[in-house]
Point group: C2
Chain length 198, copies 2
Amino acid sequence: MTDMPASDPAAPVRAPVARPAELAAFLAARMCHDFISPASAIVSGLDLLDDPSAQDMREEAMGLIATSARKLADLLQFSRVAFGASASAETFDVRELEKLAQGVFAHMRARLEWAVEPPAVNKPAARALLNLAQMAGAALPTGGTARIRAVQEAGAIAIAAEATGPRARLRHKRAGNRQKVRDFFSAGEAAGGRPRRE
Amino acid sequence: MTDMPASDPAAPVRAPVARPAELAAFLAARMCHDFISPASAIVSGLDLLDDPSAQDMREEAMGLIATSARKLADLLQFSRVAFGASASAETFDVRELEKLAQGVFAHMRARLEWAVEPPAVNKPAARALLNLAQMAGAALPTGGTARIRAVQEAGAIAIAAEATGPRARLRHKRAGNRQKVRDFFSAGEAAGGRPRRE
C-alpha cells in the first residue's frame, strides 16, 4: 500500500532504505539473480543439444530454451519499467503496465487480477504497481490470486496489493529484509492494503 | 584511477553521484539495456527456427542463439560482481576478476590486458577494476587494447585504466554523464591513470 504524493501527514511512513550505494548494489544483485536462472537454463539447453549422447532429448532441450528465452524477455521488459529509469515517459498507460505484469505472471504459479482504475499513472506510481504486483506474486509460491487495486482520489493514488492462496507468505532470503517487507505492509495495512494468508 | 581507502587528502575527488533512488534506477536501466540486446537476439533466433520459409537458415539461427546466450551469461556473471552486492565475499581473487572481465571482452572488439599486481582485493577495489575495465573496453568500439593496471602501496590500491586504439573515445548517451566520466578520468589523470587516444 502506498500513497503518492504523500499529501496526508498521517500517511504511512516507510522504513528507511539502505545506504544509496547499497540500494543500487542490492537492486543489481537481485536483477542478476532473477536473470541468471533463465539464462543458465538456455545455456543448459544448448549444451544438451550439443551432447551426442542426448540426441533423444532434442525436443525437450529446444522447449527449455524457448521457455527460458520468453521468461527472460518478459522479465527484462518488466524490470526496465519496474526498476529502471525507463524511457523518458513520465506518464504510463496502465494497460501497458498490466501487460508487463501479466508477462511476469505468465511464468509464475499465481494468477494476477489487475483492478487499477486510473487510465494513466505517473512514474513513481507505475513502479509501485509493478513492484507490488511482483511481490504479491512471489508471495504465492504454490499459486493463488494476486490482486492489485488502485484508485485515484484528489490527485493522490492509493494502491493495494493482496495475495490470496494456500501458502501465501512474504519471503526473502535475508531475515532483515523480510522484516522490512513486513513493516512496509504493516504500514499499508492501517491504510487498507495487506497481504492475506488463507 | 581510484585510491582506496582514501588515505591521502590530496587524492582525487569524484564528481557527486545522482540522488540515491536515481542511482539505483540508472543502474537498473543500464543493466536492462545491456541484457535486452542478447536476450532479443535469442528470441529472434528462435523465431527464425520456427519460420517454415527460413529452413535454410537453421544453422545461422542456432549460431545466433548460442552466441547470444554465451554473451548474456558472461555479462550476468560480470554484472553480479561489478554492480551487485555479490556473495558475501569481502576479498576477491584477482584471477577470478580477470576471468569475469575477459568474459565480457570476449564479446567486444577490444583486447584486455590485465596487469593487476595484488593477488587479492577488497570489494570496492574489485568493483572499480571491473567497472573501469568495461568502460575502457567500451571506449574502443573499433578495437584496440584496454589495459588495467593496479598496484598496492601501504594499504592503498592505485588503479589505472588505459584505452589505446584507432577510435578510442569516451562515449555515453547522455551528455551530462559523458562529462561526469571525463571528470572522473581527469581526476585520475593527475594521479597517473588516463584514457589515451592515439
